[in-house]
Subunit: 354 residues, 2 copies
């Protein structure tokens, strides 16, 4: 596929694509929360501070209904740039890929049927441990149950996330597990200094090498939950982690607790893999022998500034956008130009209907 | 398959079996609650009155973990006869059929990941309407969402239920919708008089022909939710309603709001289809042109009295037992004698480990 850039082990990436391209896909969206997102300047995944907590359930509702229930409009930045769920919605709908929402610690439940785990939101890692060790074990165990079920009913399980502030906890986790991580952000002037400062404060709290303990101190509920999903699901069928920085943190924890590399790939957008303030490509290879696939959705060619913004460093990725676009292009035997057309149609629908 | 009895439209039943036998199955267990079960003498689905509310989540936990979390032992009658979930567990495990739990109005949440709908338990229909019309619509709509998703990720979706007291609400629904229903029960001396009395009290409350309103007055949350699932799911793939009387009530409501008969069958145990106090076979044909398949699990040959009890009129069916046994025999190219052996092994495991 000309629209994909493969990196890491290229032969493995090609093989992965060949294995999944003719099968059934299922997209699972894991929504979660870390109080770390309440630190001013850390995220713009919401119109204002108060509304950030509604972003994960609202993303889920928008995917289901085409509009939100918990809030009036679809999630957007303070200056009106839409959630990457717009790309995910376009991808899923155009290719009839089913999806299911999993609440793994979101502060607010979405107004639709979803898989409930009972996990609590994560604490602000700059001042508290994120979770207890017991909560981490429970998140992994529940993730394993769900991962096993979902992987056994599809040919390729795609896992995406919506957790505002999650790149900061992901940064802390990767540093704590010994990787030289630099992370992407939903903001072009990536607040690197602030994120590193928060990560350092969290890292000072670590007093053990035990990876469960590390996640408890500096992580968020999404990371152990998705790691549990990956760990059990990758024993059954191909799994695509759909995301950037946050999925590398999942890969980092998974490489400590065990998973099947042969059935695992990361799928993302080129806005993540080309991000010079981060080091996504090297990080993936450093963590595991897992291929990565990046798709360029050509949004820089859009007539809408709100879509061009993704290519200019806003949002870049999230809600499984990259992975679901890859799956939709494979399933529809389609290309990015056609995808752009559909995304523009969806953009038009949203901003004229609201 | 020699172990199956087919009725209704036999050619359709054979065709249904041929269409599903080589595909993937997914079992969904819908747990719910009606306060009608609190009427003394109406159900024995629990060791005592207080514990009946824990039966649906405990059934779900037992299927997942092999033991329960919400209560100490697996659900059983006051004199120690086990839940039909024992048969379901044996069927699913022996054939590696995945399952997912849906909470559609259970009073207590199970301690495992499950699909949450936010639906409320149903009221006691002898003294109150079960639900509001709005709650019925919401149950149908949420059922449609979940049904569409699950049907699109499997080749055959099996739907079972766990709702104590549910045969009484099912009786009321069928009478209200104009069918001459007699219903089965978890008790050999089926408390027919009491059930009819409760149904009559509920029927007196009906003041409209609108089927949504009928369900609101005399039903329970499981019926509209599963009807919604069936309605959307049967447009996509074959669906097996796994159960007896309660699934005929679903079929009755579904025949009012619309579903695809060609993709629908009922799967149950011979203990239901042979029950002379009920009229299952005629009822199904009267309601819709949908085939039914009954399996005889040969439990009367068991060395354990607790398993023989199913063949003597206790429990008979529930938690999707019949439908999942049918699926497991099809998938394993197996017969009932082999199933009995596995059920005895599971029975031994439970009653020695507890």
């Amino acid at each position: 596929m000309d629209d994909f850039e493969l990196f890491g082990n290229i032969a493995k990436a090609e093989n992965f694509i060949n294995r999944i391209k003719d099968g059934k896909f299922l997209f699972s969206l894991v929504i979660s929360y870390t109080e770390t997102c309440e630190i001013p300047g850390i995220t713009f995944a919401g119109a204002d501070k108060e509304s950030i907590q509604y972003t994960p359930p609202a993303d889920a509702e928008y995917l289901h209904y085409g509009n939100c229930k918990t809030i009036d409009k679809i999630p957007m930045t303070p200056d009106g740039k839409p959630t990457p769920a717009l790309l995910t919605k376009t991808a899923l709908e155009s290719s009839s890929i089913p999806h299911i929402v999993i609440n793994a610690g979101s502060k607010i439940s979405p107004q639709l049927p979803f898989i409930q785990t009972g996990l609590s939101p994560g604490k602000n890692i700059s001042i508290n441990p994120a979770m207890t060790d017991l909560q981490v074990s429970q998140a992994v165990n529940y993730g394993r149950i769900i991962g096993r079920t979902l992987a056994s009913i599809t040919d390729c399980l795609i896992i995406g996330e919506s957790i505002p502030g999650g790149t900061t906890t992901a940064l802390a986790v990767m540093k704590a597990l010994g990787y030289k991580a630099k992370v992407s952000s939903s903001i072009p002037n990536n607040p690197v200094v602030l994120k590193n400062q928060i990560a350092s404060m969290a890292l000072d709290r670590i007093n053990s090498d035990n990876p469960y303990d590390v996640i408890a101190k500096v992580g968020d509920p999404m990371i152990p939950f998705v790691t549990g999903m990956l760990s059990a699901a990758s024993e059954i069928n191909p799994i695509m982690l759909a995301g950037g920085t946050q999925m590398t943190a999942v890969l980092a924890f998974a490489s400590k607790i065990g998973f099947n590399e042969k059935n695992t790939a990361i799928g993302t957008t080129s806005y993540i893999s080309d991000d010079e303030s981060a080091n996504f490509k090297n990080l993936v290879s450093e963590i595991a022998d897992v291929p990565a696939i990046a798709v360029n959705p050509l949004l820089k060619n859009s007539k809408f500034p709100g879509l061009r913004a993704f290519s200019e460093g806003f949002a870049k990725e999230g809600v499984g956008a990259g992975g679901t676009i890859i799956a939709s292009l494979l399933k529809n035997r389609n290309n990015s130009s056609k995808f752009l057309e559909l995304a523009e149609k969806e953009y038009g629908r949203i901003f004229t209907s609201q």
